[in-house]
Symmetry: C2
Subunit: 241 residues, 2 copies
């Protein structure tokens, strides 16, 4: 088969692929969760050769008739049982020698999920575990780079888009939200200024319930109002934490 509608000047060359070689396309997922005041990553330990015992990100090859992001969603569902997960493309890793076994480029994606929502048995049956960033073991191939880059993207994006809420339960307290941002930005924030800031954004709805798990006094629960957020967006508002 000859490419018929190549969009490029070089489309008519014939030297891209040696006949006996294949270029594979995969996707790897950097799955973030937030629990117990810490940002965590879901990684898994291979239990079959080759590389048995090595920790790595969760990934898959992209099927011939499948969108690349669809492949990432398929993997997420297989591992966590969840279909509606926040997913964003991170970066594509295309070094010719990145995988010693064969030529494969990987389109990394990062996902944000609520740890408590997932199917723990399913996750465990795949040999997957949650690790904090500090405890993260060595990962296979260039997966360490993938984590670094995804974390970088998450940090940048979290500041200007309300994606942090994807990591929290529907109802959360201001101190919980602060802990989340502290773990994303890796620095402490002033509780009084943080509260003032997030409430000034006008997208949090205060509920008539308190959460007592974090302190004696308990803190009011809030929820993120995404309709309000959409409205505000349309009238030229910009979110920033």
């Amino acid at each position: 088969m000859t490419p018929s509608s190549a969009s490029t000047a070089q489309a008519s060359n014939n030297d891209f692929y040696a006949a006996h070689d294949k270029l594979y396309v995969a996707t790897d997922c950097i799955i973030f969760g937030f629990d117990d005041g810490d940002l965590k990553l879901l990684i898994f330990k291979r239990r079959v050769e080759p590389d048995s015992g090595i920790w790595s990100l969760i990934g898959s090859f992209v099927k011939i008739d499948e969108d690349v992001d669809e492949a990432a969603r398929r993997v997420l569902k297989e591992i966590t049982g969840l279909e509606e997960i926040y997913l964003e493309q991170s970066k594509t890793y295309g070094k010719a020698e990145r995988d010693p076994g064969y030529r494969c480029i990987s389109v990394a994606h990062y996902a944000l999920m609520r740890i408590n929502d997932h199917d723990r048995e399913l996750t465990q049956s795949h040999g997957a575990f949650w690790y904090t960033l500090q405890e993260l073991p060595q990962l296979a191939l260039d997966h360490q780079d993938m984590v670094r880059d995804a974390l970088d993207k998450l940090r940048r994006r979290a500041r200007y888009q309300p994606i942090g809420f994807e990591l929290l339960p529907e109802k959360f307290t201001i101190p919980q939200l602060q802990k989340l941002y502290e773990s994303i930005y890796q620095r402490e924030l002033d509780p009084r200024n943080f509260r003032k800031k997030v409430l000034s954004l006008k997208v949090l709805v205060k509920l008539d319930e308190k959460d007592k798990s974090g302190s004696k006094r308990g803190a009011y629960l809030y929820r993120f109002d995404s309709e309000k957020y959409q409205e505000l967006l349309e009238s030229g508002y910009n979110f920033e934490i």
Copy 2:
């Protein structure tokens, strides 16, 4: 050939590729230039079938033994004659149906270059032309999306990293720099505040020459001091325009 060191849970499946089908990997380049006060894009018109007469970005397939970014650099050199161009990965386009001819994913890159540096004859011999964003014709496939996304990335990145200088000559005036940022951000900036801001960054060196092309009075030329910038970076400084 069976993948030997697949990093994923699904590596042992056998259903990724039908035997008679192939998944191609390409790269397309969004090449930005700045001239005459306007941000421009280098695009080209196909002169052979299929799609003869259709404008598109410049791209190529990725060779089996070539890094993906290396492929992008190869294309840039073929088209412009330049080897040292600022190049950044933009995004990967992986919809199964994005190219009706065959399955191909494209890793888009954006490049920033000084329009006057390039080999005009070479560019012309490839049927490539510079267009302002306003005059841009319809582009093939999803190339319009690629332009939109790259422009978006450029805008975000230009604010916090000194990449704008890649689009200007070595020596430039403050008003020229302002025009560049105005065309990137698509909004007017106050000349007095702009000057104050960029000079406060301490990375511009004033030269003893004036450029008289832009006004009667002429404006002093400056150059970007990248050594100084690196130094400042290491002592926790952050650039922002």
